[in-house]
Amino acid sequence: METTYRSNIMICAGTGCVANGSLKVKDALETELIKRNLQKEVKIVLTGCNGFCAKGPVMVVYPEDIFYQQVKPEDVPHLVEEHFIKGRPVQKFLYTPPAQKDTIPVMNDIPFFKHQVLRALRNRSLIDAEKIEEYIARDGYMAAAKALTEMTPEQIVNDMKRSGLRGRGGAGFLTGLKWELCARVTGEIKYILCNGDEGDPGAFMDRSIMEADPHSVLEGMIIAAKAINAHYGYIYVRAEYPLAVHRLQLAIEQAKENGLLGKDILGSGFDLDIEIYQGAGAFVCGEETALMASIEGKRGMPRAKPPFPAVKGLWQRPSVLNNVETFANVPPIILNGADWFASIGSEKSKGTKVFALSGALNNIGLVEVPMGIPLKTVIFDIGGGIKNNRKFKAVQMGGPSGGCIPNSLIDTPVDFENINKTGAIMGSGGMVVMDETTCMPAMAKFFLEFTEDESCGKCVPCRIGNKTLLSILTRITNGEGREGDIELLLELSQQIKDTSLCGLGQTSPNPVLTTIKYFRDEYEAHIKEHRCPARVCTPLVKFVVDQAKCKKCGQCFKACPVGALKWEKGQVAYIDPEKCTKCKSCIKACRFWSID
C-alpha cells in the first residue's frame, strides 16, 4: 500500500522547465521538507511538460491546485514555510495575467489553462512519467485490455472510424480508414509505426507527449496493432529528443516487465514487440515513405505512392504509420466510445488538437483545445496576447509547410477545413505568432532557408525550385528586387507544388504564397520603394531619425553600443552615419517607430 500524503507537489520536468532549473528546485524542496520533517506528508512528483513553458520552472500543488511559477532554489525555504506549514499560497510565485494586478492562485482559474480541453494531454501534470503505476492509476492500459480481450479488429476499426479521429501529424487522414485499409491486406508480417520525427521549427507537441506520457503512445500502438494484426512496431524518434527517447525506452522496459508488451499480452494471446529507432534529425524523414526507408537503413528519401504503406510499407510489408499525438488519442476512444470523442470539435474535425505556442506571445507553451475554437481565443485568451504591448500581425501555422494567417482572419475556427481555406495548414500544430516587428518577405525567406536545406534532392522542382525561390527572396530582402519578381515567385511556387513527389516539396512554397497573398504591399515596398516597413532588412533601412515622429526620449541614445547616436534632453536624436554599424539596437529601443 502506498503511503498516505496530505499534499503532492508536481514539479514540471519537461525539457523547458529542466532547462530553467526545475531539477535544482526539486533537490531544494527535498532538503527543505526533510529539514521540516514533512517528507512523510508532502510528496514530490516529477511530471512531464505542464504546458506553461513561458513561466518555468512551474509546479502545481495538490490538493489545493495551486500553480507556482518561476520558483528558484533559494525561494524554497520560504515557500515550504508559508504553504506547507502555515497553509497559505505564496503571492510572489502566483501567476498574474499581463497588465493586471491580482494574482490567480488556482491553476484551472488561469485563462491559459481554463480554455483548454485535455484529451491527448489527459495526464499532464498529474502523473510521474517514469512510473507505470501512475499511468495505470489513471485508467492506463484498460483500453488495451478491452481491445485485446473484448473487441474484434473490425470493432476497433469501426469505433475509430466513427470517432472521426484524423491524423494529427498534419495531413488529417481518417485514422480508422487507414487502419481498415491495412487490416484488409492479407500478410503474415505487418508493422505498426509511430512517427515521432517532429521537425517543424517551433513545434514541440509530440516531444512533450513522449516525455510526459510515454505509456499512452505505447497503449495506442497496442490497440492499432490488434486492429491490423501486427506483432512488431517501431517508434521513430529524432535523436535530438534525448529525454523523450529515455522515457520511451523506460516505458517499453516497464511494459515488457509487466507483460503489457511481448508475448501473450494480459493473457489475451496477442503478441507485440516495440522498438525505438532514433532518426538523425532530417526533416524529410517525417514523410512516411522516407521514414520507412530510414528504418531500413537506407537514405531517408520518399518514394512514389502507390503502393501505399498500408499495402507495401516497411520492408515491403503492410504497415500503418501514425503520429505520436494520434496514438495518444486512441485509448480514451476505445474506453469512452466513439460518440464521446466526436462530442466535441467541428463538423469534419472531431476532438481536440495540441498546439505549441511560440513567438511574440505572452504565454508561450503547449495547449490542447477543441477543434473549431476561434484562432482569436487561442492567441489572445490562452496565449495572453502579444508581448510588450505590440500589435498582432500574423500567425504561421504548420511550420515551413504551412502559411501565415493575418489579423483580418483572426476569427477563423481552428480545424482542418477552415485553416486550409486561408492557405495555411493545420500541420502538426506549431503556431508561431508574429508582431509588427516581423518582416513578411524575411519570414518567408527564413522558412525557405529551412526547406532548401532539408530538401532530400530527389525531385528537381524541390531541389532547384526552392533554391531559386530563396535566391529571389534574398535579393528582395537585400533591396535588389526586380519588377516582376512577385509574379515569378507565384509562378515558380505553383510549379513546385504541382510537380514535387512528397509533402515537403508540395508544401514548401506555402510561406511564400501566403505572405504574398496577405502582405503583397510589403513585397512591393521592398521592390519598388526599396523600403522595409518592419525595418528588419538592414540593407533597406536608412538609419535616419524622423524629426516629426521623434519624442526626444533618448531610449535610442541609451541603446546604441557604438556612440553613433547624438541626443540631449529635449532634443531630437541624430544618428552619425560615420559611426553607425547598423546593428538595429536603436530601432529595437524606439517605441515610436521614428527611425527609418
Binding site: T4, R6, K86, R88, L126, I136, A137, T149, L266, G267
Partner: protein, 125 residues
C-alpha cells in the same frame, strides 16, 4: 515482475489512485498551524489525522493547514468541512479527540458536538 492480468491492472489502479490530484474531495480538514497552534500541539493533531487516513486508506479527503484562527486560547484547533455542509470548528483538541472526530464526523458524517466551537461561517476556499 510477473505478467499482469486485467484483474491486476484494476488492483494497481485502486492502490495507486491519486485522489489528491483528482479533486472532488468529500471532505476537507484544516489544521490551524499558526504560532499559537504549533505551540499548543497542532503537530501531534496533524500526525494523528495522517495516521487515521493511512489506517482507513482514505484518499478522498483533503488535509490542509492554515494560520491562526484568531482564538489562540482554544488551540489546537481544526476545521472539518464535509462537501455541501457548513464547516465545523473544533477547539482544545487532543490526539484522542481528533481520532474520534475523524471516525465520527469525517467517516461517519456526524459532527462531534461536544468538541465543537461553532458550526458554519469561515471557509478557506
Amino acid at each position: 515482475m510477473a505478467k499482469l492480468t486485467i484483474a491486476d491492472l484494476k488492483k494497481i489502479k485502486e492502490e495507486h489512485h491519486q485522489g489528491l490530484r483528482e479533486g472532488g474531495f468529500r471532505a476537507k480538514i484544516t489544521v490551524h498551524m499558526g504560532t499559537c497552534g504549533i505551540a499548543a500541539g497542532a503537530r501531534p493533531i496533524m500526525n494523528a489525522i495522517m495516521e487515521e487516513m493511512a489506517k482507513a486508506n482514505v484518499k478522498d479527503v483533503a488535509i490542509t493547514t492554515s494560520g491562526c484562527a484568531g482564538l489562540c486560547s482554544k488551540e489546537p484547533m481544526a476545521t472539518v468541512e464535509l462537501a455541501g455542509e457548513p464547516p465545523v470548528k473544533y477547539i482544545s483538541l487532543t490526539e484522542e479527540k481528533m481520532r474520534k472526530i475523524f471516525a465520527e464526523h469525517v467517516q461517519g458524517g456526524k459532527a462531534v458536538t461536544e468538541y465543537a466551537l461553532v458550526i458554519g461561517h469561515e471557509t478557506t476556499y
